[in-house]
C-alpha cells in the first residue's frame, strides 16, 4: 500500500492564514479519500510553513476496491419465449456485459425479473487523486485571495509555484495553477538548496530538513522557544515574556528559525511600558524581556528566518530599527505633551466618528450625557460613583485620537489618553477611566478596573450601538464591520462584573435620546419601538452567549431564563445560576414537565378560541378536591416567591415553587381540564393561566429540556 504526499508550494502565505488553511486542506483531502474509498490505513500528518501546505498519509489502497452492482432487467415473462431468451433479454445481457446464460432471476414486488451482477472495476488511486485534488485545492477558503495568471483562471492566497504529489515514488499527474506536480520541492529561500528531491512521501520531513526547512510547526515552535531561552540566558536574571499569539506568528513567518537578543538604550525605559511593548510586539514582532523584578529590561528578542547571526549584522540592523521607532515614539510623546488633552477637545470636531453619526466631539458630548443618566440610575446601588469624574473622563476620552502617538500606534487609543491624563495632573479616577474605556476587548479580557471606567466604557459602546442600529446597520452573519457584537459583549460583561442594576431597554432608550436634535437624528431609519426591538433581540443573543459560553450554563436553562426577561444582565445571571442549581432535582424536572403540559393546553385552548376565566377563580364552580387544593396553595407560594425574588434569593424561590409538584401532579392525575362544560373549563384554564403567570418570572420552565417527553 503506497504512502501519499501532497505539498503545495506557494509564495509566502500570510502568517495569520496558514494554520486554518492547512487544517482545511487536511479535512478536504481526508474527506475526498473517504468518499472515494481510498481511506489510508496508517497515520496522517499535516505540516505547514509560510511557503508550503503539506499532507502525508500512510498506506493508501493502490486503487479503489471493485464493487458489485445488481442491475435489474426486463420481466422474466417478456425475457423468454418458448424457453429461449428474447431480444429484450439479449439486449440486457449486452448492456450488462455478461453472457445471457449468466443472467439471474429475482423476485420483486412487481413480479419476477431478470437481473445481472456486474463488477465495477475500482479506479487507480493516482487517477482519482489527479482528477479530484485540484478541485479541493482551488476550493480552499482564504480570507483574501488573488489572481496572478493571465486570463485569471484561478485564485489562491498567493501564486502557487510548485507542487509535489506522490504515491510512494510515483508522481501523481495533477495540475493546478499551471503547475504540474513533480517530486521536487524547494528549500529555504536563502539557506537552500533551491531544489530538494523527495524520493518518497515518508522521506518528506527529512528531505525538507536537508533543505533547511522544518516542515512541522510544532517543531519550529520548540526550536524557537529553545532559541529564545538560550538568547535570554546571556542576560543574568532575565526572562522573555511569554506571548502565545506572537509565538504563533513567528512560527508561521519562518522555515528555519533562530533567535537573537538585541538591546536598546535604557533611557527609553522612561517611556510608558505600554508604548515600548506595542512597538516591539505589534510593529517589530519582538518578544519583550523582563528583569528579575518583572520590569521591562532594555533588551528584545527577534526571531529570524535563518540559521544565525555570526557577524552580528542582523542584531545591529534590528537595534537600529528599534532605536528609530523608539525615537519616534519619544518625539511624539514630547510633542503631544505640548497640547494638553483639554486643549484637544476642540480638535475632535475635525475627527469623524462615522459619516452619519458626526464627529468625535459630538460623540463625546453624547457619551457625557449618557454617562450622567447612567449615574443617576445607579445612584442607589452604587452611591460612591463620582459623577463628576465620569463626565470629565467622557469629555476627554477621545481627545487622544488627535495625538501623534495614537495616530502612529492606533492600537493604543485610550491607553495613551489615560497616560497623558495622568501626566497632565488629572486625578487617577479620571485617568484610569480614560485608560480603560475600550475594555473589555473580549470575553476573556478584563473589564474596566473602576466604576467610573465601567460607566464610561458602557456609555461609549452603547452610543455606538444605538447610532448604528438607528441607521439600520445591524450586524448579520459575518458582517459586523464596526464590531458591534464585541462591543455588546463588552457591555454585558461589564454590567455583570460590576453588578450594575441597569436595564438594557432603558439604557438604549437613553442612548438614542442623546442623539435627539442632532444631524444624525435626521438620518435615522429606525426609531422608537422598531429600534428598541432590534437592540433587544441583539442583546438577547449576546446575553445567551455570555450565560452559555462564559458562565457555562446549559442552553435550555439559558433559554428558560431569558424567556422570562432579558433586560437585566445581573438578574438574568442570578436566575440562570439558580435554575441551573435546582435543575437536577426530581421535583424541578417534574415541574418543568408540568409547565410544558400547561402551556400546551393553554395554547390549544387559545387556538380553538376557548375562553379562559380571569382570576380570581370562582370556587363555586371549581369543586374537585385537587383543584381546590392547588388553588389554595398558589397565592401563598406566589407571595413567598415574590419576597425571595425581590432579594434575588432565586434558588430558595425555586425550591418553594418545586413544592407545587405534588399538587400539580395530583391535579393532572385527577382533573380533566378540557371538559365539555364551558364555564368549568374556563375556570380550570384560568387556574392554569394563573400558575403560568405567577411562576414564570424567574424562568419559563416549559423551556427546560426534560428526560421524558
Amino acid at each position: 500500500m503506497p504512502d501519499f504526499l501532497l505539498e503545495i508550494g506557494c509564495e509566502e502565505i500570510p502568517a495569520r492564514m496558514i494554520f486554518d488553511a492547512s487544517l482545511e486542506l487536511e479535512k478536504r483531502i481526508l474527506d475526498l479519500l473517504k468518499s472515494n474509498r481510498l481511506q489510508p490505513t496508517g497515520e496522517i500528518a499535516k505540516t505547514e510553513t509560510p511557503r508550503r501546505l503539506s499532507l502525508f498519509a500512510r498506506g493508501l489502497p493502490e486503487s479503489q476496491p471493485d464493487t458489485q452492482q445488481q442491475l435489474t432487467g426486463p420481466a422474466v415473462k417478456v425475457a423468454y419465449k418458448d424457453g429461449q431468451p428474447t431480444a429484450a433479454a439479449q439486449a440486457f445481457a449486452r448492456k450488462a456485459g455478461i453472457d445471457v446464460e449468466k443472467l439471474e432471476k429475482i423476485t420483486t414486488p412487481k413480479g419476477e425479473y431478470l437481473a445481472a451482477t456486474v463488477t465495477n472495476k475500482g479506479k487507480l488511486a493516482r487517477d482519482v487523486l489527479a482528477e479530484l485534488l485540484p478541485k479541493e485545492i482551488v476550493a480552499l477558503h482564504w480570507p483574501k485571495n488573488m489572481y496572478w495568471r493571465a486570463g485569471k483562471p484561478e485564485r489562491f492566497v498567493r501564486p502557487v509555484r510548485w507542487m509535489v504529489a506522490l504515491l510512494d515514488g510515483e508522481v501523481i499527474p495533477l495540475e493546478f495553477g499551471g503547475i504540474k506536480a513533480g517530486n521536487e520541492s524547494r528549500g529555504h529561500r536563502i539557506l537552500g538548496p533551491a531544489l530538494a528531491k523527495v524520493s518518497a512521501p515518508s522521506a518528506y520531513i527529512e528531505a525538507m530538513r536537508g533543505a533547511h526547512v522544518i516542515a512541522s510547526p510544532d517543531e519550529r515552535e520548540q526550536r524557537i522557544r529553545k532559541a529564545l531561552d538560550a538568547a535570554t540566558r546571556t542576560v543574568p536574571g532575565a526572562r522573555w515574556r511569554e506571548d502565545a499569539e506572537l509565538l504563533k506568528v513567528v512560527v508561521n513567518l519562518t522555515e528555519w528559525p533562530s533567535a537573537i537578543l538585541g538591546s536598546f538604550d535604557p533611557q527609553f525605559l522612561s517611556l510608558p511600558e505600554e508604548v515600548l511593548v506595542t512597538v516591539m510586539r505589534d510593529h517589530q514582532k519582538y518578544f519583550a524581556v523582563e528583569g528579575a523584578s518583572k520590569k521591562l529590561a532594555p533588551h528584545f528578542l527577534a526571531v529570524l528566518n535563518t540559521d544565525g547571526d555570526p557577524a552580528g549584522l542582523i542584531r545591529h540592523g534590528n537595534e537600529r530599527v528599534l532605536r528609530a521607532r523608539f525615537n519616534d515614539a519619544r518625539f511624539f510623546w514630547d510633542t503631544d505633551q505640548k497640547t494638553p488633552l483639554r486643549d484637544r477637545v476642540e480638535m475632535l470636531k475635525a475627527v469623524t466618528f462615522h459619516k452619519d453619526l458626526g464627529s468625535y466631539a459630538d460623540k463625546s458630548e453624547r457619551m457625557g450625557n449618557l454617562a450622567e443618566r447612567l449615574c443617576q440610575m445607579l445612584v442607589n446601588s452604587h452611591p460612591k460613583i463620582n459623577v463628576n469624574a465620569v463626565q470629565q473622563a467622557a469629555w476627554l476620552a477621545k481627545t487622544d485620537l488627535t495625538t501623534e502617538l495614537v495616530k502612529e500606534f492606533t492600537e493604543l487609543q485610550g491607553i495613551i489618553g489615560g497616560l497623558y491624563a495622568k501626566a497632565q495632573g488629572l486625578t487617577e479616577m479620571i485617568s484610569d477611566a480614560i485608560y480603560d474605556q475600550y475594555k473589555p476587548t473580549s470575553m476573556d479580557s478584563s473589564a474596566p478596573r473602576t466604576l467610573e471606567g465601567a460607566l464610561l466604557s458602557i456609555a461609549d459602546k452603547a452610543d455606538s450601538i444605538a447610532g448604528m442600529f438607528a441607521l439600520g446597520m445591524v450586524p448579520s452573519g459575518s458582517k459586523d464591520p464596526f464590531a458591534l457584537r464585541r462591543q455588546a459583549n463588552g457591555i454585558v460583561k461589564t454590567i455583570a462584573e460590576k453588578k450594575f442594576l441597569l436595564n438594557l431597554a432603558t439604557l438604549f432608550r437613553d442612548a438614542i435620546d442623546t442623539y435627539e436634535g442632532s444631524e444624525a437624528w435626521k438620518k435615522f431609519t429606525f426609531r422608537g419601538q422598531a429600534y428598541l426591538n432590534q437592540v433587544q433581540a441583539f442583546f438577547r443573543e449576546r446575553l445567551e452567549f455570555y450565560l452559555r459560553d462564559v458562565l457555562g450554563i446549559a442552553y435550555d436553562v439559558v433559554n428558560a431564563t431569558l424567556a422570562a426577561d432579558s433586560n437585566d444582565v445581573v438578574d438574568a445571571a442570578a436566575r440562570a445560576s439558580a435554575v441551573a442549581k435546582v435543575r437536577p432535582s426530581a421535583d424541578f424536572e417534574a415541574i418543568s414537565t408540568s409547565f410544558k403540559r400547561m402551556k400546551n393546553i393553554l395554547r390549544q385552548a387559545a387556538e380553538s378560541k376557548k375562553r379562559v376565566a380571569e382570576p380570581p377563580p370562582n370556587l363555586s364552580i371549581l369543586k374537585q378536591q385537587e383543584e381546590i387544593t392547588l388553588h389554595g396553595l398558589i397565592r401563598g407560594i406566589a407571595r413567598e416567591v415574590k419576597v425571595l425574588s425581590a432579594s434575588r434569593r432565586y434558588e430558595q424561590a425555586l425550591v418553594k415553587i418545586s413544592k407545587l409538584r405534588s399538587p400539580i401532579d395530583a391535579f393532572f392525575d385527577k382533573v380533566m381540564v378540557m371538559v365539555e362544560d364551558e364555564e368549568l373549563r374556563a375556570q380550570r384554564l384560568g387556574l392554569l393561566q394563573t400558575l403560568v403567570d405567577e411562576f414564570s418570572s424567574i424562568a419559563d420552565f416549559s423551556e427546560i429540556v426534560t428526560e421524558k417527553k
Binding site: 509566502e12 502568517a15 493571465a150 485569471k152 501564486p159 528566518n305 545591529h316 540592523g317 534590528n318 528609530a324
Partner: protein, 330 residues
C-alpha cells in the same frame, strides 16, 4: 559610525536602475507632477490597465505634505524617493528577481534576515488595490511588493507586479546612518568629499513643511482644486461624448488629450493633501472630496483603457462579435 564602503544614495539608484534595465525595463524619468506615491504616476496607474505587456522602472519623488517634519525628524520626510518597478505580467520568478536586485546593491542575503510579511495595498482615492507583502530586512521594511488586482476601479488582466523600494531607508540601512539627513548622496572619487542628504534636501523639507502646514493659502488652494477638477471633468465628459458618437474618426479618438486630463487629476490629489495638512478639510467635506477625486481617477482609467482600443465605429458596435484589436497607437 557610517559605513564608508557602502553605496552612496545615488549609487544605489544607479545600481537598481541598471539591474532592472538589464531585465528589459524601460528606464523612465520621475514624473514631473506632484504625486503622493509612485503608483499614481501614469507609468504605473495607466500602464497597468489593458492587455499590453510592459516593464518599467523609475525613481519617483513621493510628496506627502502631512508627513513633513520641518527637517527635524531623522526618519520622516515630506518628500521621499521611491524606486518603482512595474512588471506586467510578473514573471514566475519575480520574487527571486527581487532578491537578486538586493544582491546587486551589495546585500549579502546570507548575512541577513529577510521575510515577506503580509501587507496588502489599497488606495481608495484611486480605486486601486493589490495583494502583497512588505519585505522586511533585519526588521526594516525596505520594499512594498504588490500584485495589482484593480486600478481605477477596473479589474486588471494581466496582473502587474509592483515593487516599491524606499530609497532613503535602504541607503540609511546600507550606510548604517541613524538619520536620513546623514546619508551620503555622492562621494567624490578623487577628493573623497561627501555630499550629504541634508545638504541637498534639508531646505526643501523645511520650507515645504512651513508652506504646507502654515502658509499655503487655503482659499486659493480650494480654488485651484476646483479649477483643476472642473477642467478634468470637462475633458472626461468630452471623451465620453466622443465614445458615444458613431462617427468619431480614428484620429480624433487617438489624439484626445486624456493624459493631460490625468495630470489635472494628480493636481487635485496633491491640493487635497495640502489642504489636509493645513487642517482645512472638515469632517463632512473630507469624505466628499475623496469621492470626487476618486471619480476623476476612475473616469480617467475607464476612458484611457477605452482609448487603447479602436474608436467605437457604428458597424463594430452593432456587429460586436469581433472584438476590436488592442492597438497601442500607430
Amino acid at each position: 559610525m557610517a559605513n564608508s564602503s557602502a553605496l552612496t544614495f545615488q549609487e544605489l539608484i544607479l545600481r537598481l536602475q541598471t539591474f532592472w534595465a538589464e531585465r528589459g525595463c524601460v528606464l523612465q524619468q520621475p514624473y514631473d507632477v506632484e504625486v503622493g506615491a509612485g503608483t499614481m504616476a501614469p507609468e504605473t496607474f495607466l500602464r497597468v490597465l489593458g492587455p499590453n505587456p510592459y516593464r518599467v522602472a523609475y525613481v519617483q519623488p513621493s510628496r506627502r505634505p502631512a508627513d513633513g517634519r520641518y527637517g527635524d525628524n531623522p526618519n520622516r520626510l515630506y518628500k521621499h524617493l521611491q524606486l518603482q518597478v512595474i512588471l506586467k505580467p510578473p514573471p514566475e520568478n519575480v520574487q527571486e528577481l527581487y532578491l537578486e536586485s538586493l544582491k546587486a546593491i551589495g546585500i549579502d542575503l546570507r548575512q541577513h534576515d529577510i521575510k515577506f510579511e503580509e501587507d496588502n495595498w489599497e488606495a481608495p482615492t484611486l480605486g486601486a488595490w493589490g495583494i502583497g507583502w512588505q519585505v522586511m530586512l533585519d526588521g526594516l521594511e525596505i520594499t512594498q511588493f504588490t500584485y495589482f488586482q484593480q486600478c481605477g476601479g477596473i479589474d486588471l488582466d494581466p496582473i502587474s507586479a509592483e515593487l516599491t523600494y524606499g530609497l532613503e531607508r535602504i541607503t540609511a540601512f546600507l550606510q548604517d546612518a541613524d538619520s536620513i539627513y546623514d546619508i551620503v548622496w555622492v562621494r567624490d572619487a578623487e577628493t573623497g568629499r561627501e555630499v550629504k542628504y541634508r545638504e541637498v534636501r534639508y531646505q526643501d523639507e523645511l520650507q515645504f513643511s512651513v508652506y504646507n502646514f502654515e502658509v499655503a493659502d487655503v482659499g486659493q488652494a480650494w480654488k485651484h482644486l476646483e479649477l483643476y477638477e472642473s477642467e478634468c471633468q470637462k475633458l472626461i465628459g468630452q471623451f465620453n461624448a466622443l465614445s458615444g458618437s458613431k462617427t468619431v474618426s480614428e484620429d480624433e479618438w487617438k489624439r484626445f488629450p486624456l493624459l493631460p486630463a490625468f495630470d489635472l487629476c494628480l493636481k487635485c490629489s496633491h491640493l487635497f493633501n495640502i489642504l489636509d495638512a493645513r487642517g482645512a478639510i472638515s469632517v463632512t467635506e473630507r469624505v466628499g472630496v475623496i469621492a470626487r477625486i476618486r471619480q476623476l481617477a476612475v473616469g480617467l482609467a475607464k476612458a484611457f483603457q477605452a482609448q487603447q482600443s479602436a474608436p467605437p465605429k457604428a458597424e463594430t458596435r452593432v456587429g460586436a462579435q469581433v472584438p476590436s484589436p488592442a492597438g497601442g497607437g500607430r
